[in-house]
Symmetry: C2
Subunit: 338 residues, 2 copies
Amino acid sequence: MSQTKSMTTKQIVLTSRPKGTPTPEDFRIENVELQAMKENELLLQGIYYSVDPYMRGRMNDTKSYTAPFKVGHPIEGGVVAKVIGSKLADFKTGDIVLGLLPWSEKIVALATGVKKIDATKVPPSYYLGILGMPGLTAYFGLMDITKPKAGETVVVSGAAGAVGVVVGQIAKIQGCRVIGIAGSHDKIKLLKEEFGFDEAINYKTTADIRQEIARLCPNGVDVYFDNVGGTISDAVISNVNFHARIALCGQISLYNSTEVPMGPRLQPMLLTRSVLLQGFIISNYQSRFPEGIQQLAQWLTAGKLKYTETIIHGFTQLPVALIGLFKGENKGKMVVEA
Amino acid sequence: MSQTKSMTTKQIVLTSRPKGTPTPEDFRIENVELQAMKENELLLQGIYYSVDPYMRGRMNDTKSYTAPFKVGHPIEGGVVAKVIGSKLADFKTGDIVLGLLPWSEKIVALATGVKKIDATKVPPSYYLGILGMPGLTAYFGLMDITKPKAGETVVVSGAAGAVGVVVGQIAKIQGCRVIGIAGSHDKIKLLKEEFGFDEAINYKTTADIRQEIARLCPNGVDVYFDNVGGTISDAVISNVNFHARIALCGQISLYNSTEVPMGPRLQPMLLTRSVLLQGFIISNYQSRFPEGIQQLAQWLTAGKLKYTETIIHGFTQLPVALIGLFKGENKGKMVVEA
């Protein structure tokens, strides 16, 4: 397909840096004229757009492991798109690609910024979840940092999220007892009935989470995979065993804090119990992504890993979907289908 | 020497569990009759008694990595003693031994609870310090947990203490830039002039420790060896680099807290900077002690490691010496000579 000069597209722009939880007013939908494709570029039509907790950090103007979003520019994130125009022999119309791309309905992008994905065996949206960053985060965080052994007790917070459901299932594959923490009756039910967690705790209705963890983990906690931080993590960490390992993956409960959050100092306990705590971001493991994808795909096709998505329909729903993450509106991975 | 039936000895007994910082009233000096030696036992005369920060934890009635001291019973700790009576051919009068022993001037102990030390090449008190637990703690905590690389920046808190002076010197041997934190002008001078630290910070006279660390560590902090915890550690940790390593060795600033101390939640920073934090106690490395002692002794005899002790004279000064640790009254390792 050839590109017309006057093609326009909708895009979603950050209008202001949120104070606390983002609101719809922090975003604007714009109609803009699309740049013409240049050499080595592709014209893409977005199909699935990823919304992820880490995006909150990029909305702040602070130095972190990824550059801040720019005010007045489109948000960017993981996108599965269809090629609808190509300047390269390697990419044909109809090919499905994955990339870190702007929130735009149509996108002109360098071919080097995307990779083709095989959407014949699994739905293409899986490459934003179980075969993408969340799945790899679960795999490397659990296996490489916490090294769970059969018979150990593993606790996962944010257990019903995109990363959490995978962590819990991999821990079960390793022969562990797995306890998930999530925020609704439906999620608890899902974790136990669908994903094989041994026990699950609804933190919104449990008066004393610390005591409940002690009750459900009679042998203590050997591994804690932390997606949420804050008081839930305090409760888990007070139950850790000697030589416990904590993978620090997310702190969603604190991402919208406007002041430095305070809490009990954990170091005395981490010291006396010889605990390992390791923060990580998935890009640390970039060189090992193929290993992770291969293992996850194998478990998936063998039926050992189940997967769930929350799909929101409509490109313009992206801001609402992202805001919904911080209210716990997702079960498993949340994506927006254009 | 044969033991008379009516031999008495002084011992120092814990009379009450301290609330906050220990006071002299928490201890009592008693004259007790010494039990007669039985088979496989030795009669010992204490020479050097170790006072160490970890002892504060044993004064509480809480589960930890070592059992609490018992109220009404003698304190116990590292002691270098001379054999003055023996039921075994392997131990002769005049042999010098090291053991975890009661605070008693004379001690009847099982021979299996002590080991002979070679006091011909180094003063016997060194076995309570640089060739004992503090030296091994510095060696394994720094080398095994933080793995410093030449050119990296290492910060040590409690730098003028028994562990800290060794950590800093080993880090220099590894080719690192080393910054120490301590609590007096004299200690700062000692660290820089005697022990070769590149810079040292007096936390008692520095208004903004965080800023001072930033100034003295223009390339950020790669390794933090933490002996103190609390606000000093907050200041260091706010300056850590991506992939920094923190060895959690002591938390002396918090040991006398009567409530759970609160502080800024560090996890968001540890996460985004992919930081490793590992709590440890030296007994984790028991099987590797010979390796550690050999390396420390080699550095010591090669003149690469210097050593300093604060020696307090008089057995009955033990409580005062221990209390003094929490006021920072020691330079290097503090021991009491009977």
